[in-house]
Amino acid sequence: MKRRKFDAAALPAKTAGAVDDRFQVATPLRKLLNKVFPDHWSFLLGEIALFSFVILLLTGVFLTFFYEPAMTEVTYDGSYAPLRGTPMSAAYASSLDISFDVRGGLIMRQMHHWSALLFMAAIVVHMLRVFFTGAFRKPRETNWIIGSLLFWVGFLAGFTGYSLPDDGLSGTGLRIASGIILSIPVIGSWVSSSIFAGEFPGTIIISRFFIAHVLLIPGLLVALISVHLGLVFKQKHTQWPGPGRTNSNVVGERMFPRYALKQGGFFMVVFGVVALMGGLFQINPIWYFGPYEAWVVSAASQPDWYVMFLDGSTRLMPAWEIHIPIGNGYVIPPLFWPTVVLPGILVGLSTMYPFLEARRLKDYKHHNLLQRPRDVPARTAVGAMAVAFYVVLTLSGGNDVIADKFHISLNAMTWAGRVGLLVIPPLAYYVTYRLCLGLQQHDREVLAHGVETGIIKRLPDGRFVEVHQPLTSADGHDGHAPALDYVGWVVPKKMNRLGALGPAIRGFFYPIEKPAEAPVSPGHPPVEPRPEREEISSGESRR
């Protein structure tokens, strides 16, 4: 009998062959490995949201092992002495247990909270990037809509999660939410009593929020995120204009290995930063707030940052009640406008924006090249207006804290917010529009006349002029360098961008000597190999 020799080296090839025999994966896998991604720092913002979401899932699953979604009254008997003997809901008691009686529970809770804040922040910043560069244009309108929905679904996820510990602060938030629901005309009281199973707070809302927070909303988020990524994959990423980059190609790196390594490394960095924040920066210390009691609140109770703009709009709303004198009389309370109508308008406007813009510009073509914000002043200005609107509302959401810290009258802060909300956005529009035009003009100026060298020349007639370095050496018809066309990408405006100055010496302990980079636009590796630089010498050969 012959002993068959086990050949370990042939094992991977053999296994791969066996897999391919059965599933025919070689071709699709090659396509995946080879897929080209364009690279730019601004393309990584969405990834931060994705990575935070993964961290949210990981830490969230941990928390569910210890959290008890019940409003049954219990008496606290955990290790946090100041609250011992206090009657509270089981939800709050188990949240305290996660913080004090589960090993490593507190860091998990804090990482969960921080990554939730980061998730929302990354979504917003990513959305701004997409907006200002025109990445939402055809064929990517669907992904823009999904992205906007992700913000609102994330908002719901955040709010339901924030309510779960059932502490003093979150209960107050919940009460405001019930007030908001009540304010909806005609059906408000029915919706509210259906959600809370009777009058606020009832005994079941925490259980309902729990299942929404751990199953329904994450399920929706996973679905939306999958479609979002799938569409990015299918439609291929947009890219900045530049040498060799056209509307019908993608210039970048293949997905494997370099691009994937960078993504993986970036995930670990995001994860690490969240871990540092979760460990070092206290967030939502529920044990200071006490259990929720309907009659207790503290000053400076602010919601999480992504809710603050709605809190701000609520604070700024004047007390305009609409009374409908039929029968006993009906009321539309002022709370309805800033908390139900305003978000409704924001959702509508933001999701429809790509279509509105296409309609206005009569532009129904495919766009795979990004635009610099300055090149589309109207859009950039509209975006600046929206940001200004949002910032005024968010600041107003903390206007009591600002009033307190800076010794300003609270009423003055409210009035400043009311006036600011109407005045600052149009102002932002105007200023941004002018800035865009100015930047455009400067680009054209440099393309036509060259870069300012900082060298002053005296002319024979006594005038002083600054010498400009033209960007092209080709001679025009009158001896001047011809004006270059603007191609939608960065125009070099400093001499060292042209390679006139060597780069600063790099290296921390000892200089790393490297030849200067060939003059290329930033973010672009040169398409052709760099020309060898000649050594600067005294002119005579050493040899």
Partner: protein, 362 residues
């Protein structure tokens, strides 16, 4: 396969035989990329193999990975042995979470930056160009798919047999309703059960017995318990009166100074609430009429009550009328008196609706 050769023919390239032993592995990779319409136009090693720079970078990456191991081990050691149970005072247990965060964070940053350095510094730089193919490159396909789908409708014959379609819709509509019914039917609640939105815990008991005002700890209150200018949060003296079961009942009992009390009494009379005060004492609902937060910041000097959530301000001496902020309705006033034993009681329930406004509030 034919499409590849066609494509290569278009680009004027010879088809490559990937089994050719003279090809390097990179040649095969490049050929694979070409078959996916990718041209690797620039591929440049960043470090010369065997150079000092390569060795230095390798050492750096290795160091980061080793640091990761070190910090991860530290994390485990701290996790297991560091005192973690909460103790009063500034004990070492307060450092437990920060230490876990620092070690975990640095361990993860170590892997992260290690991988990033590996990818960004040690791997060759490349520029590849891939065709997008995002335009409709074959209008015929579109036509065929469209026709196929229309043919589906022909096959089903809904046009010729409209009864099928109509009856199917008629049959499915109730099925959809059946799916929604348990959800809606189970969740829906009549909001005005027991008139709950218009009553509070201060509603007199069934025998007409008046409800006492009590403190948080359940003790009833005598007028002398609240000093002049002072205020106290009070609750209905019934079972669960202090708890969230009666979240609409917390009330603020204020002992006004003489001149403020006169103003307040005059305002009460203007409104037809002449007998709501008892002596110089007034009681207003603590639940803000705007969004339901407890309006609990009482400024003695100006007799203003401020809600800390959205800064509505109510003037206590003028029937708690809203004078600033988003609230549109005064805080309801609780009519109070003192019973024969000398404790505060509510003469009746609130006569106005408590809390945030809603559509059918009269």
């Amino acid at each position: 396969m034919s499409t590849h050769t066609e494509h290569q023919a278009q680009q004027g390239r010879e088809p490559v035989d990937v089994n050719d032993p003279r090809l390097s592995r990179f040649d095969v990779v490049q050929e694979g990329a070409r078959r996916d319409d990718i041209e690797i136009v620039h591929y440049e090693e960043q470090v010369v193999p065997g150079s000092k720079a390569e060795r230095r970078l390798t050492r750096t990456v290795a160091l980061m990975f080793l640091l990761t191991g070190l910090f991860a081990t530290a994390f485990l050691v701290i996790y297991i042995w560091w005192p973690w149970q909460w103790e009063p005072g500034r004990g070492g247990d307060k450092l437990y979470t920060p230490l876990l965060g620092v070690t975990l964070g640095l361990a993860l940053l170590g892997i992260g930056f290690g991988i990033l350095t590996w990818g960004k510094k040690l791997l060759p730089k490349e520029v590849s160009i891939q065709d997008r193919h995002d335009q409709v490159d074959n209008p015929e396909d579109r036509k065929i798919t469209g026709e196929t789908m229309l043919y589906l409708a022909d096959e089903l014959g809904v046009k010729r047999r409209p009864l099928l379609g109509i009856s199917l819709l008629a049959g499915l509509a109730p099925v959809g309703a059946v799916a929604a019914a348990p959800l809606i039917g189970g969740l829906i609640e009549q909001p005005h059960k027991n008139n709950q939105m218009f009553t509070t815990g201060f509603a007199p008991a069934e025998g007409g017995e008046k409800i006492r005002l009590i403190r948080e700890d359940g003790r009833p209150i005598r007028p002398a318990d609240v000093s002049v200018g002072g205020q106290l949060t009070v609750f209905p003296g019934i079972e669960g009166g202090v708890s969230n079961k009666h979240a609409d009942s917390p009330t603020l009992l204020i002992h006004l100074r003489e001149d403020d009390a006169q103003k307040s009494r005059a305002a009460n009379e203007r409104k037809g609430h002449g007998d709501y005060m008892w002596g110089n004492y007034v009681a207003f609902s603590k639940i803000c009429t705007h969004a339901g937060c407890p309006a609990s910041l009482y400024e003695q000097q100006t007799n203003r009550l401020l809600c800390p959530c959205h800064q509505s301000q109510f003037l206590i001496t003028d029937n708690a009328k809203p004078i600033f902020g988003p609230a549109n309705r005064p805080l309801p006033q609780l009519p109070i008196e003192v019973d024969e034993e000398g404790f505060f009681v509510a003469r009746s329930d609130y006569t106005e609706t408590i809390g945030p406004d809603f559509w059918e509030r009269p």
